[in-house]
Amino acid sequence: MKILVFCCDWCSYPGADLAGILRLEYPSEVRIIKVMCSGRVDLMLVLDALRQGIDGVMVTGCHPGECHYVHGNMEAERRIELLRSIFERSGINPRRVRIEWISASEGEKFAEVTRAFKQEIDEIGPINQGEIDAAEIIHDVFSSERARLVLGASRRAIELEGVDPLWYKGVLERTVREEVLRERILRELRKTGALSAHELAERIGEPAKEIFWNLIAMKRRQIILDIGIVDDSLKFAIQEGV
């Protein structure tokens, strides 16, 4: 069992220190990584941990409205919520990631939430290979520009431009889902060379129609190219240099 807890320098890290000072026992599987702010926790880091086989990742920060860096904790929450909703559709148990608010004076809470998290991970069991593979794909998605751009622009859209947050959330989730599918398509193409939408559908287990739509989009972005019709189907291959 491996559990990673990101702690911010101002609230949850001293909160964890306080748990020590008060000698509050919590599971020894917990490994703490200090960052200055929970807002520093890039989803890539969380996903990197999961693909390394870590069973649970908890991000902890200051209570809402009390972030030392004004709104870093809210950015962290937005990201973790997105990740959980992506996990739900990607075969990763969303309960493997969570976010908690722990102030510097809440040593007891630190011990409580780590105990509870350990129990939750015990219930859902160790991370399996399928989840690790999925985390690998989502990691690559969150290392690429498109998903990050849509995620990064959400603050401006919602707070400055007054865009409906629910609508934006939909766009964001759809974008990430598409990117996950495209990443899986790329992997198949890398393995096999040229494939049609139907052939990809068989390997990936998603509807051919949806795959074809994404193939067109990928072609437009010059990630792949079509190599013409073979056996009645349009086949695609990876663009050189991608």
Binding site: K2, L4, W10, C11, Y13, P14, G15, A16, D17, L18, A19, G20, I21, R23, L24, E25, Y26, S28, R31, I32, I33, K34, V35, M36, C37, G39, R40, V41, D42, L43, M44, L45, D48, A49, Q52, G53, I54, H63, E66, H68, Y69, V70, H71, G72, E75, R79, S103, A104, S105, G107, S143, E145, R148, L149, L151, G152, A153, R155, R156, L160
Partner: protein, 652 residues
């Protein structure tokens, strides 16, 4: 690369749970580790010397210390490393005390975790880069929160040294709890007589800006550069015009209980809490005010202003002292004591108001129906030293009870004091002598078993009966006209909110936590924030004053400098891969990102002086072009790999 690893026993703090030898042995096999040592106290001089010697003789270029929280000793070791000529940012710490030995019992698992934490720090250390600390200026002003004796003393000491102090107090007058007291033990000095001159000094000191009836609502920034928001509540009085003549209060038709007199005395809706109040300016309590307009009509100076509203003032200070004091436990929830049910069961602080010459009875000890009580029973340790309740000793009740008992014998003709105590703690200078003197004056002390219940009942004739159990198991029954409860001193009701405001911790008893219980009792783990008085724990007046002067000295240490070093751990934009999307610009809470127009297009750039190093931009950057120095993606990933690595695999 040449890494040195030092594992600390911290006496038995780490050594009792973690096999330190084994951890050091493990570290010695990690790649690039050239020396791995264990030592009883790494933070001690010989411990630091060990590191410095190795840096010089073995040519170490990275140092990892596995010991306590970096909040405790990271500065110590950084300094040591720098003294040996190594850049202080090439040092990394593993917290194997607060995050390991203190929270795990199983020796094997704790040892394994300690190895992981060391491995994580060694891995991260490999990617560390030398950084140069930035110099940041210090605002040469201080904020003192709370103007009881602690806050007043702190403010006066700082102000006397020539620095500006904002002294913020939530009630209409300075003075705090000490202003409510009558005599002070063990010397029986009149509390007001020794306090009032200090209150007046604080009120007219040219370097002190008194902000009464005000509350700190927001604190931002860091050591040397705090930004503070203070809410000034409306007094509905122009304090520039008010002379404190009191004409308004004498004509105001409203009578309500005076909080300062613990509700025993009475004040008007327009009031000063007590005659010696500083500033001597009236306040209208709009919750009780009936809007009759009399005060406005009678005020010769035209000082009444019903239209006043709340005002928020922004201050910039370099240091903050929390002198926010304490509360007394609400004993009405403890039915066995009969408080609230029987008129003549009162608390110690209420008794103080009765004794006080400027109190509601003019210093006469009287029951609620105006008679002089002959037999007064004092019950000690009410709510203190209770397993499952307030487990601590409130420290000043033994002595004030002795003082109260003395006053009963002294002021009431034929008066008799009986004290029901658990242990008489007379630890301070002159305390034991005073305690003996009071007993010799004829006060009877009855020792009770603190674990056995106490009960207060009222007989039909109005006499109060107190029953308890002696240590030998025999019953104690005392009869009296008045019962005085020495209730526990507790952390302020809003101590939690204040601790959040200051970003500091509280100990299990609810009081503010010091940086170290022995050696840094005035500092907090947050640089630039200090503690004075009972906010840190119950203490008597001399201890409070001593700590207050100590806090002032800590503040002066800071304000005497022209600059302090700011962290060089700031964000950095790689403009070669930046796509100019301005996401970082949008998310930065400090406006530390500047967009600049280059030939290739717009590019982001960090203003290092403004940047606080939170890393929100790095977590959000679509192009992965931003990193935070000392917390780079690669460093964090390396640390994660280390803390979760297969222990057998990582040793070569």
């Amino acid at each position: 690369m040449r890494i040195g690893v030092y594992v600390c026993h911290c006496g038995i703090n780490i050594g009792a749970t973690v096999d330190v030898k084994k951890v050091a042995e493990f570290a010695s096999h990690l790649k690039d580790v050239v020396i791995s040592r264990e030592y009883s106290y790494m933070c001690s001089d010989p411990g630091q010397e060990l590191i410095k010697k190795d840096i010089r003789e073995l040519g170490l270029d990275r140092v990892v210390v596995a010991s306590c929280s970096p909040r405790m000793h990271e500065p110590t070791f950084r300094t040591a490393v720098a003294e040996a000529g190594l850049n202080p940012y090439l040092f990394e710490m593993a917290n194997i005390r607060e995050h390991c030995s203190w929270v795990h019992d199983d020796r094997e698992r704790a040892t394994e975790k300690a190895m992981h934490l060391v491995a994580g720090s060694v891995y991260k250390s490999k990617l560390l880069e030398p950084l140069e600390p930035m110099q940041v200026g210090i605002t040469k002003k201080a904020l003192v929160m709370g103007a009881g004796i602690a806050g007043i003393q702190t403010a006066l000491d700082i102000a006397d040294s020539g620095f500006k102090v904002y002294l913020v107090e939530r009630s209409p007058s300075v003075g705090g709890k000490m202003a409510q007291l009558d005599k002070t033990f063990p010397t029986l000095d009149c509390s007001a007589c020794i306090l009032t001159p200090k209150m007046v000094d604080a009120g007219r000191h040219p370097n002190i800006e008194l902000m009464t009836y005000s509350e700190v609502i927001d604190i931002d920034g860091y050591v040397g550069n705090f930004r503070v928001k203070v809410l000034k509540k409306p007094r509905y009085i122009d304090i520039e015009k008010c002379t404190g003549c009191g004409e308004c209060a004498s004509r105001c038709p409203v009578d309500v209980p005076n909080e300062f007199d613990e509700g025993i005395g009475i004040r008007s809706a327009i009031y000063i809490p007590f005659p010696q109040a500083v500033p001597l300016k009236y306040t209208i309590d709009r919750d009780s005010c009936i809007r009759c307009g009399t005060c406005k009509n009678v005020c010769k100076r035209d000082a009444i202003d019903y239209d006043q509203t709340e005002e928020i003032v922004e201050l910039e200070v370099g240091a903050i002292v929390a002198a926010t004091g304490y509360d007394l436990m609400d004993v009405s929830s403890r039915e066995e004591y009969g408080y609230g049910r029987f008129d003549n069961v009162i608390t110690g602080i209420e008794f103080e108001r009765l004794c006080n010459a400027s109190g509601p009875t003019g210093g006469k000890i009287l029951t609620k129906d105006g008679r002089e009580p002959k037999d007064v029973i004092f019950i000690q340790c009410v709510g203190s030293r209770e397993i499952g309740g307030n487990e601590y000793c409130s420290r000043f009740c033994c002595m004030y009870t002795a003082k109260h008992a003395h006053l009963v014998e002294d002021r009431i003709e034929g008066g008799k004091a009986k004290v029901l105590f658990t242990d008489a703690r007379a630890y301070g200078k002159g305390f034991e002598e005073f305690y003996v003197r009071v007993m010799e004056e004829g006060v009877d002390y009855f020792r009770r078993d603190h674990d056995k219940p106490v009960s207060v009942t009222e007989r039909e004739d109005g006499k109060l009966i107190v029953t308890a159990t002696a240590l030998d198991g025999s019953p104690i029954e005392l009869e009296g006209d008045m019962v005085v409860l020495a209730t526990a001193a507790t952390a302020c009701e809003d101590a939690f909110e204040v601790s959040r405001l200051l970003n500091i911790s509280r100990t299990g008893d609810g009081f503010f936590m010091e940086a170290h219980p022995k050696l840094r009792p005035i500092d907090t783990p947050s640089d630039g924030i200090f503690l004075a008085g009972c906010s840190q724990g119950p203490k008597d007046i001399p201890d409070t004053v001593a700590q207050a002067s100590g806090a002032a000295s800590q503040v002066l240490n800071l304000l005497a400098q022209d600059s302090t070093t700011g962290s060089p751990s700031v964000s950095e934009v790689n403009q070669d891969i930046c796509i100019g999307c301005a996401t970082c610009f949008e998310v930065c809470p400090y406006g530390a990102i500047e967009m600049e127009r280059l030939e290739v297009g717009w590019r982001a750039k960090t203003n290092e002086v403004v940047c606080k190093g939170c890393g929100i931009c790095a977590g959000e950057c679509p192009a992965l072009a931003i990193n935070v120095k000392h917390f780079t993606d690669e460093q964090i990933i390396n640390k994660i790999e280390g803390v979760l690595a297969d222990l057998n695999e990582v040793v070569t």
